[in-house]
Amino acid sequence: MDRRTHVSRRTFLKGAAATGALAGVGSLLDFQPVHFRHAQARTDISTEVFQNACPRNCYDTCAILTTVEDGVIKSVTGNPKNTYTRGRLCVKGNSYPRIVYSPDRIKYPMRQKGRGSGNWERISWDEAMTEIAQKILDIKKEYGSTLPICLNKYSGNFNLLNYGIEGMMSSIGYTSRAAGTPCWPAGIDAQTFDFGTIWNNDPEEMVDSKYLILWGVNPAWCAVHSMQIVLEAKKRGCKIVAIDPLFSQTAVKADLYLQIKPSTDGALALGMCRYILDNELYDGDWLVRNAKGYEEFFGYLKNNITVEWAAEKTGIPAKVIENLAHEFASVKPAGIWIGYGMQRHTNGGQNVRAIDALVAMTGNVGIPGGGARYAHLETWGFNYHAMVHSPPAGSLGDGDRLINMNNFAAEVLAADEPPIKMLWIACRNPMAQDPETSVMQKAFEAMDLVVTVDQFMNDTVKMSDIVLPCTTLFESPGINVSYWHHWMNLNEQAIAPMYEAKHDVEIAMELSKKLNELEPGSCSFPTDLTMEEWLANEFNAGIYQLFGINDWRELKSKGPVKAESLKVAWQNGRFRTPSGKYEFWSEEAEKFGHHPLPVWVEEYKAPEKYPFRCISPHWKLGIHSQFQQTDWMEQINDKPFVEIHPNVAAQYGIHEGDNVKVYNDLGYVIVPARITTATSKDCVVVYEAWYKDKNFNINYTVKALPADMGSKATGMPGIAFHDNFVNIEKV
């Protein structure tokens, strides 16, 4: 059969007109390309440099300089004007252009037919907003309030303007909110009881320390700019001690490494305190002037703690503890950097209090180079104008309903009167990040509508109905501060948003417009501000004074600025506790159900069936779901693994590279073994991370077990991520 008969041009065109498909797109002699315009005359294509700020949940909050040519990012580098960033980014930061220009970015609003089906259709922003707004209004009608709508947003982007997401939710009425923070609450409460709040010295003056204990923290991976400072201090003669259950990259660089049994940090600190007390190495003057309840604390030490006991608990020989205590108490300034890893335990908050006590009793609080360094929020006093909005007039209810972020899935499923029917997810990947993944799956399945705002496909997007593309840090303006250093970095819009990406605040404005169009008065989120105006509205006199500027626009020429007055935390001795003193004895702690003193609380012990503690620390090449998807990171490492001590491996017949099932009652993962003495005989290590296109998630095994503290300062206790017990077998 020969169907290829001659068709004349006339017939062809007739055919085209008949289908209507190509009608209006023009003909050969009269063609106007629809996707083009006349090139604007340009003689030279200029190169511009913009200021950006890394908004990741990372200690370092780097100031970035971005070179742009013809509207395209050519390179990124650290801004030398920020003396913490010192002109360099980490490998993650250096990979940013690859995120912006990855062909795999989420580009347009899309709707999935059947959650998890992979059947996506492209929709316009208007269609997306209409469907979402209509659902919100329907829910309100059916349940009489907006409480069935639940927001789960956290730390994916710490640009101040991203709090506009919370603002959008507040603007539609009272809603359900994932509350709390998974990362650091126990330590925050501990320091709140002791000092009144968290406030660490400027990390740049760590160079002046004479003795520095890096306790459960791995700056060589997770705060590379501070590692520089640590190494500089070492060069100047400071002794660096690393205390960690794992022989981390940081420990490698220390003068002394102590492999402590996990979750026994408080026992070590208290053992050191006892030695210091017995040998009268404490700073009596400081205690008299500044502390409340130290006599009671001393009494507790005398009656309950011995160095030998501490040695037994921690696995660190008594002689070593004595030496450490002696050295720490004999030089000034001596400081301790308390990591977030060591407080992810059921006794984590108490352990932080014990370490605080050690720093305080040696008089190292309030001096340069000293300090119990954990974190701070002192530079965060913005207006939160994007975040704070009143519900529309006539909204029913008496406030938002709080859903524990750290037990999110179970609480979403349990929520009743009204139930939760719609999820809005931004700056998070709960399907991969949260404990009890299979429960999370059920929670998602129970929803009428799941909306996720993100840049790349991940486990959460897969389980969503609508995905909305959001801008990268280069595509929207903003302002960033750190929870560690004391700088403020302006984030300028360096390039136009790629594809149809929008900033969360723009999304909020769009949604507000649509809601009010469908039902006037149903959303109070402002719709007529430019992004610059949103930014301007975050500043106030307090922030200007703290950073020594008169107007935020000065940052455009001045570059990053530092809050110099915050340099030495608590130097003035005015603590923010109820007594105004450093509180060894805290009635606040007692109110929250804890012992008023920093006492020892037994660690969570391995059940017989699951003899290994599975520690899931941060990975060097990503921040959970972020960065790992880039080609660079994939090339260096695209495989999760489990670290096992050689003796354990021998006992279980496991060799390097063997597939190992890591399991408990909750779930399992199967990963290849890496045999190393970096871990101890009672721990296995699986780095917490998300891998593109891999069915791996250590949180399948992690129970939503609360840490001891966190409720006072963050509303919810933290998660005892590192009290996860498993067994292993070769498969």
Binding site: L29, H35, A39, V72, Y101, P103, D104, M110, W120, M457
Partner: protein, 213 residues
């Protein structure tokens, strides 16, 4: 009927027309404006335009099956290949294939941008969409062919040799990457419609390559 070499003057306008319509159709397809009913029309009305390259015959046979195919399945397949939101199985960007890091908006994209500017054009979504998206490249060729035809008809003459520009653009860009892309389409497409269109495009380009040589 084969596409005639471009230098046979007598047929030039006709030849331009056929190329123009073919490129236009593919650009419409990649812009998401063609679904199975339109593709069936393509099968019935346009097959004789495309020549007899084995890939074209294979593609047309496959297109024959499209008639009964479900539009939604096609749409999902199309999005998985070219749109998202997941990792694109056959990215429609030249740079995704040619850039050493597989990134868009690099040297490769900018070289395409330069071509557009030579013809006095730039994409309206400058800086927002990669200039080397296949829709833009195909539409750009339509523009070049149209300009050439208008010059032939004496409508306009701005002393740009559009045919030469087309030849160069075809050789330096389209032909270098589109066959890699259409091979990805072969591997990953789940519907006859997407697969057929991939075969047809590749076959058409192969035929055109010979015609232009």
């Amino acid at each position: 009927m084969r596409l005639m070499p471009l230098d046979q003057k007598s047929n030039l306008l006709d030849d331009l027309e056929k190329r123009f319509q073919t490129y236009l159709f593919f650009s419409q397809y990649y812009a998401g404006k063609a679904d199975p009913p339109i593709l069936s029309w393509f099968y019935h009305e346009m097959d004789s335009f495309l020549g007899e390259h084995p890939l074209i015959i294979q593609g047309l046979d496959l297109l024959h099956e499209v008639q009964g195919e479900d539009s939604t399945a096609f749409r999902y397949d199309f999005n998985r290949l070219f749109v998202g939101p997941g990792k694109l199985l056959a990215p429609p960007y030249e740079s995704a294939y040619l850039n050493q890091d597989g990134l868009v908006m690099q040297e490769e994209t900018l070289s395409v941008r330069k071509y557009y500017r030579t013809a006095g054009l730039e994409i309206s979504a400058l800086g927002r969409e990669p200039d080397d998206h296949i829709v833009f490249q195909l539409e750009f060729i339509c523009y070049l062919l149209s300009q050439e035809a208008q010059a032939l008809n004496g409508v306009e003459d701005d002393h740009i040799n559009y045919l030469e520009l087309y030849r160069k653009f075809f050789a330096e860009h389209l032909m270098i990457w589109v066959p890699k892309h259409t091979r990805d389409v072969q591997v990953h497409s789940q519907t006859s419609a997407c697969k057929a269109m991939g075969l047809l495009l590749e076959g058409f380009l192969e035929t055109e390559k010979q015609a232009l040589n």
